[in-house]
């Protein structure tokens, strides 16, 4: 352990809370993860799971008078949580960049795309406008925008959705960041464009060697790109592990729900998709015990009292899960789901196996 260089990004027990008129919103509740240089971490969860707030907090975008942020975000050893705003500003857009879900609303409607990119370069680098403009043309070409010399003077509304997101990516890459945080970068785009944007991000990652945190609600999106995946629910990570392990032997009933609720080509067309029942919990009044228990087909009465913590799956230290079911029960339940049984049927099975303690 000690011989290894420290990871690029190391988040320890991050908590983000917002005081609102309705009560305290526990948006991120004790999240820890690491991202190595040049690697991709996928963060998956429904809307309201805290994944976007957590990502924004890396860049200090959630700092507000009603926000309380604790824990550590170590970026190359520097704690971004404790960093004063004027120092953090120099990290933003230069060492860590971010792209967002809706590229139309994320670009300023009144300024030309080129102007917005030039601004991103010149805020961190002491270069002339002309030199920055040249670099912008180069960047727009790099992200696959045709005829960048002409497109540079377009307004955001004159570009297509895919082109806008490419422009956002170009802006994020302007200063060759070590980490790119991509918050639902393809959600607002057509399916064919989604694949292009993901392909572009993969190519750029290979060429530039940056690490990526890819936030999405869609496991299909991260499956191909991510080295590791963290599944978030109600402000916490409920399962984290290498992508292959997570797809091969998912451990958490919520992960099963995510996997079974997306259509895939491997599925028999006759198979039904199984939605996750219920709705994401309120982050103000969270369920007791395991936060997922009200929606879990396998929940036991005791699960409403005990709060599970992340623990490694037997024999796989990198694959960890926060679930109160014992491992045999989980394996049997997943096998049953894979065999096409409905969750309710396998729930009975898990009840039988769930002994005292």
């Amino acid at each position: 352990m000690s011989s290894q260089p420290p990871p690029l990004l190391e988040i320890e027990d991050l908590r983000v809370e917002f005081a609102t008129d309705d009560g305290i919103v526990h948006a991120v509740d004790g999240v820890s993860y690491q991202v190595e240089r040049g690697q991709t971490l996928g963060i998956v969860g429904e809307s309201g799971s805290g994944k976007s707030v957590g990502a924004g907090t890396i860049l200090g975008l959630t700092r507000a008078s009603n926000a309380s942020i604790s824990g550590r975000i170590l970026f190359e050893g520097r704690d971004l949580v404790a960093m004063p705003a004027h120092e953090l500003r120099r990290v933003r857009g230069s060492e860590i960049s971010m792209i967002f879900q809706d590229p139309l609303s994320s670009l300023h409607p009144f300024y030309r795309v080129g102007h917005q990119l030039v601004e991103a370069i010149r805020v961190h680098r002491d270069v002339t406008k002309a030199a920055a403009r040249e670099r912008v043309v180069e960047l727009l070409g790099l992200v696959g925008i045709p005829d960048p010399k002409r497109r540079i003077d377009d307004y955001p509304h004159e570009l297509s959705g895919g082109m806008r997101q490419r422009a956002m990516i170009a802006m994020a890459l302007a200063n060759e960041p070590k980490l790119l945080v991509a918050d639902e970068p393809t959600t607002a785009l057509d399916v064919t464009v989604q694949a292009q944007i993901l392909g572009l991000m993969e190519r750029l990652q290979r060429e530039l060697g940056m690490a990526i945190i890819l936030i999405t609600h869609d496991l299909g999106v991260v499956a191909e790109m991510a080295d590791d995946i963290a599944v978030m629910y109600a402000g916490r990570i409920v399962e984290v592990g290498p992508t292959l392990a997570l797809f091969d032997a998912p451990q958490h009933p919520y992960t099963w729900g995510l996997l079974k609720s997306i259509p895939s080509l491997e599925h028999d067309p006759g198979d039904e998709l199984i939605p996750i029942p219920g709705r994401p919990p309120s982050l103000i009044h969270r369920p007791t015990g395991c936060h997922f228990h009200p929606r879990c087909a396998y929940a036991q009465p005791a699960h409403a009292r005990t709060d599970p913590s992340l623990a490694p799956v037997a024999g796989q230290p990198a694959h960890r899960v926060a679930c109160l079911l014992d491992e045999r029960a989980r394996r049997a339940a997943w096998a049953a789901l894979e065999a096409g049984e409905a969750p309710a049927a396998s729930a009975a099975l898990s009840t039988a196996e769930d002994g005292p303690g």
Binding site: A85, F110, E119, V123
Partner: protein
């Protein structure tokens, strides 16, 4: 863009004819005294009055009167003659216009210089003591009647009757061309009175607009780029937040150029508002018609200007 402007101008012409018709109808239908009698003076005979009526064309059918009026306005900008002084309404208005423009221009400068910074600071330091104090003052500014504020200022600062005689009081206006210093000092109090409520309205409007803008996704992008917070607010936030103010300002400029009746009356500034007030007191219809028409022209022109400025401010308007 060109087509858009032409369409706006044509529509403005239609509006103007409607305004002319409306003012004509109102003053024809609601006379408070017989204009011919007003013109004739105290000891006029019935024959005198009938002659005057004939000379003024008041014995013709109403549609002929309207047609004559419309023709004169459109062809020569001839607004008729004052019943009271026999002077041409056009020259009366043109004489009074410089005072009104002086008053309006200074007030606009003051309320922008006060309203915009206060609005920005209040929005950025939302819920702070500064914000609350500024918004309380703004609420007072909006609520205080103009004539009351004017009288209080005169009572406090006017050179003739004031407790602290610092500034020239009422009735001291001189044209800019004859004495710039006196012009300036005589207008300071009227400017502030006229600017007070608008500065407050603009500060509140901008505060709300900027608070909303600062929630936009592109503000988050600007921050994520690493821009200074000052740049984020001024270049990305304010740029968008100011556009709703342009709409209001266009209207306000139009209204002000039509005469600030209350302020001009309290400070006895010889502007269009004052002219209008005197005309109302004396039932001098041609002047009232003329001033209303001029005010309407200013408002319509200001609205067209707003539409064009808007297209320049927001590129999305330009192409749609």
């Amino acid at each position: 863009m060109g087509r858009y402007i032409i369409r706006r101008l044509l529509w403005a012409l239609v509006l103007l004819v409607l305004v002319i018709a409306l003012t004509f109808a109102i003053f024809y239908l609601l006379p408070s005294a017989d204009p011919a009698q007003l013109r004739a003076g105290r000891n006029a005979t019935a024959q005198n009055i009938a002659d005057i009526r004939h000379n003024l064309g008041l014995d013709k059918p109403v549609y002929v009167q309207f047609w004559d009026y419309l023709k004169a306005v459109v062809l020569h900008f001839d607004l008729g003659y004052s019943y009271q002084s026999d002077a041409s309404v056009k020259s009366l208005i043109l004489d009074r216009l410089p005072a009104t423009v002086s008053l309006a221009a200074g007030a606009i400068v003051i309320w922008m210089l006060v309203g915009i910074p206060v609005g920005v600071i209040s929005a950025v330091r939302r819920r702070s003591l500064l914000d609350r104090a500024a918004m309380t003052v703004a609420l007072i500014g909006v609520s205080v009647p103009v004539f009351w504020l004017g009288l209080v200022l005169l009572y406090l600062f006017a050179a003739d009757i004031g407790k602290f005689p610092l500034l020239p009081g009422a009735n001291t206006y001189v044209p800019l061309t004859s004495d710039p210093v006196k012009w300036l000092t005589s207008l300071i109090m009227p400017w502030f009175v006229l600017a007070a409520s608008s500065a407050a309205v603009y500060a509140r409007l901008l505060r709300g607009s900027l608070i909303e803008t600062m929630q936009e996704d592109y503000i988050r992008t600007a921050r994520a780029k690493g821009l200074l917070e000052r740049t984020v607010v001024m270049r990305h936030g304010l740029r968008s937040a100011l556009t709703p103010l342009v709409t209001v300002m266009g209207l306000d400029i139009g209204v002000l150029l039509g005469g600030a009746l209350l302020t001009e009356t309290v400070f006895n500034v010889p502007g269009i508002g004052r002219l209008n007030y005197e005309a109302i007191v004396h039932s001098d219809y041609p002047i009232i018609q003329g001033t209303v028409l001029v005010a309407a022209i200013f408002i319509i022109l200001a609205n067209i200007a707003v539409d064009i400025v808007y297209a320049f401010l927001d590129p999305r308007v330009r192409y749609s």
